[in-house]
């Protein structure tokens, strides 16, 4: 049972508290959803429950937090970990061992439990989380959903009563989210207390007993900034003509298994296209073929009128944005970043203009890493836009962004399509997909639907 009484917390050096006068009571076995915009204090809230505040993060706190009778500041982290388990957003950084079963045992080993008990708990966790068949698999080879499941199992094995989840499925696809729903149900059946922080929470709503909304560090009851769905905008006045044309394309990394099978698709200039599908459907591969990064071993492909172009020839005509913006920021100031691409290909960079479009003019002399995640994403997009490619391709551009950043990103993309060219992006997010004028869905390497919104 969690009992929070008039709790406030301020990070060192900050003027405003991250959490302000929170009072809350969560009963044993309840499932609570916590929602709020980025920066509203959701993660801080979780850190106060699992002891990371104050054991790892310093700061000034007022009021009290009690879990099952004890207060986190009074108890060492190792003891708290036996009552509260935390699962974070990125599965990759929660896995420590090379083999699944070793990683599940890791937490229990750290608790210095006797060997037999560690083995017992490990095996029970493997079975409960449906990982028994995968127990000798190398962790590197797991899918995103499986990795997250592993992270959860590793925490589960330590036997906590309370489970905290900090945006656990933001990086996962539809299949991963389904698996997660099963896990939540499983935990609820076992009577565990669940606190879930998530942006895209619609799938989990039926399982939740309560919803708490945080805004600027306070609990509010009604929040209006949340629900506006995005509507597809019509693109107008785009140059006519075909941007990309694929006929009977097949692609696979080995001859046995085709990742893409007999793909036929034509994308016109000026279109904004969303590519949907689960991981493994071939959507990222198709995206890379659109961008000329991969060459199909069968079929005809024409990009911007050139059949089977080389990657080098496409550099200034096709812009490709990978999933993690941090892997694409190389310069030391925001302005330099925007100028990087154009200067390399010999174009004059309209840095001011693009900074303005991105809303980053005030940050132009700052280091890219000082920006927030959403801003870094926009910076990465704009840095490629500055090269003025005719086709802009983005791989999962909404990963890790909150609603407000999405809106900004998509209005950016739409303006771009209106003025200049074609935008193609992949997503496993329904809302993002609804923002596109055309939606192509892939499953098992084939196109199963191709619809245009009216």
């Amino acid at each position: 049972m969690i009992d929070i009484d008039s709790f406030s917390f301020t990070y060192p050096g900050m003027d405003t508290p991250a959490l302000h006068d929170i009072s809350l009571r969560i009963e044993s076995g309840e499932a609570v959803l916590v929602r709020g915009a980025s920066g509203s204090g959701k993660s801080t809230f979780l850190y106060c429950l699992n002891g990371l505040i104050p054991h790892v993060f310093a700061g000034v706190s007022l009021g009290s937090v009690r879990l099952n009778g004890f207060a986190p500041p009074e108890v060492p982290l190792r003891e708290i970990a036996r009552t509260v388990g935390t699962v974070f957003q990125n599965p990759e950084s929660q896995i420590f061992m090379m083999r699944v079963e070793d990683d599940v045992a890791f937490g229990c080993e750290n608790l210095l439990l006797p060997r037999e008990e560690v083995i017992c708990r490990r095996d029970e966790a493997l079975r409960s989380m449906d990982l028994w068949d995968l127990r000798r698999r190398e962790t590197f080879k797991l899918s995103g959903g499986q990795k997250q499941r592993l992270a959860i199992s590793s925490v589960y094995a330590m036997g906590p009563q309370i489970f905290l989840f900090d945006e656990p499925t933001t990086d996962l696809d539809g299949k991963g989210r389904q698996e997660f729903t099963k896990i939540i149900r499983n935990l609820k059946d076992k009577g565990k207390t669940i606190v879930l922080v998530e942006h895209q929470y619609e799938d989990y709503l039926p399982l939740m007993d309560r919803i708490i909304t945080l805004e600027n560090g306070r609990i509010v009851n009604n929040s209006t900034a949340m629900s506006s769905p995005m509507t597809a905008k019509k693109t107008t006045a785009a140059p006519a003509g075909t941007a990309i044309s694929l006929k009977e394309i097949c692609f696979g990394y080995d001859r046995e298994k085709n990742i893409l099978d007999n793909i036929d698709v034509t994308i016109q200039r000026g279109e904004v296209v969303a590519l949907k599908g689960n991981n493994g459907s071939g959507k990222t591969t198709l995206l890379k073929i659109f961008g000329g990064l991969l060459r199909p071993f069968q079929g005809e492909i024409t990009i911007l009128g050139v059949p089977r172009p080389t990657l080098e020839s496409l550099v200034s005509h096709v812009g490709f944005l990978f999933q993690n913006p941090d892997e694409q920021l190389f310069a030391q100031t925001v302005a330099e970043e925007v100028a990087f691409g154009p200067s390399r290909i010999g174009k004059k960079a309209e840095v001011e203009r693009y900074l303005d479009i991105a809303g980053l003019k005030a940050h132009s002399r700052l280091h890219p890493q000082t920006l927030s995640r959403g801003q870094r994403q926009i910076l990465a997009v704009v840095s490629i836009m500055a090269m003025e490619p005719e086709i802009l391709i983005l791989d999962e551009p909404t990963t890790g962004l909150d609603r407000r950043s999405w809106h900004e990103l998509f209005s950016l993309l739409y303006d771009y399509a209106n003025g200049r060219g074609t935008v193609i992006f992949s997503t496993h997010n329904e809302h993002a997909a609804s923002a596109a004028g055309r939606r192509i869905t892939l499953d098992n390497g084939r196109i199963i639907s191709d619809e245009v919104s009216g």
Binding site: N50, F88, N90, Q94, I95, M97, M98, F322, E327, M387
Partner: protein, 263 residues
């Protein structure tokens, strides 16, 4: 050389035994002199290597590595052989030809040197094969466990475990960053391009790693990590291990005595 997922006699040995065997091999490599003794050592290790039946590519790589090492050793020792008697095959520089000659004392290729180089290569081969045998027959985390059991501090064990775990992830990320740079027009061809790639690749890779390090550390904290832990995998010496170690110790002593003691 990567771990081979098989069940062989060598696989079933305790990792500590294998490391100890590595030590024994190291001692022999340093100490042995007689050609017969060296050859015996080489053949024993080669047999162990062959017993594991590594993949064809591994064998090929080994052969190429050994061949290049052999060539280089024969040539280098051929040039640098400094004992008498020695027969010159080829003279590149005589001792009295100007400044270079007097600094170097003359550069010439000696027959005895070539033979000497070939013989000494056996040491190199034995070391390469032996270390390969250990790595091919022991799963990395077991190897680290064994090292821990023999006295390597816990912190280093944790550091190496994490670094092995994240190596493939980091390699993938480096590849993606490089690709993203190429797409932004960066020219990475040739030597200059290589250095350019290095210069632009490092900052984002390292910054992202620092960010990841924080996340990983938090995940370790909530898993109650303090440095000490009980281990599921128990290391236990079996009869097999004692037999192998005893056998090898005896063999080692015989080889050393054969050539008249450690000198």
């Amino acid at each position: 050389m990567k771990y081979l997922d098989k069940e062989t006699f060598l696989h079933r040995l305790d990792p500590r035994s294998k490391i100890i065997l590595g030590f024994m091999g190291a001692i022999l490599i340093v100490v042995l002199r007689a050609p017969i003794a060296l050859s015996l050592l080489f053949l024993t290790v080669l047999a162990a290597f062959g017993y594991l039946r590594p993949a064809r590519r591994t064998v090929w790589t080994m052969i190429i590595l050994m061949a290049t090492a052999l060539c280089f050793t024969m040539i280098s020792q051929g040039f640098f052989y400094a004992l008498e008697p020695r027969t010159t095959i080829l003279t590149i520089l005589t001792p009295d030809s100007g400044m270079l000659g007097s600094i170097t004392g003359g550069i010439a290729l000696y027959q005895e040197g070539i033979i000497y180089g070939a013989l000494q290569s056996l040491r190199l081969f034995s070391a390469m094969l032996l270390s390969g045998v250990i790595v091919m027959s022991t799963y990395p985390s077991d190897l680290l466990l064994g090292m821990g059991g023999l006295g390597v501090p816990e912190r280093i064990g944790f550091v190496v475990t994490v670094s092995i775990r994240f190596l493939p992830t980091l390699m993938d990320e480096a590849g993606r960053i490089l690709l993203a740079q190429k797409l932004r027009g960066l020219d990475v061809k040739g030597v200059r391009g290589g250095f350019r790639a290095f210069r632009y690749l490092l900052p984002p890779l390292i910054i992202d790693s620092l960010r990841n390090a924080r996340r990983i550390a938090l995940a370790a904290e909530v898993r109650a990590f303090t440095g000490k832990r009980t281990k599921v995998r128990e290391l236990r010496f079996s009869l097999r291990d004692w037999a192998v170690l005893g056998f090898s110790a005896v063999g080692m002593i015989i080889l050393i005595l054969y050539q008249g003691g450690l000198s």
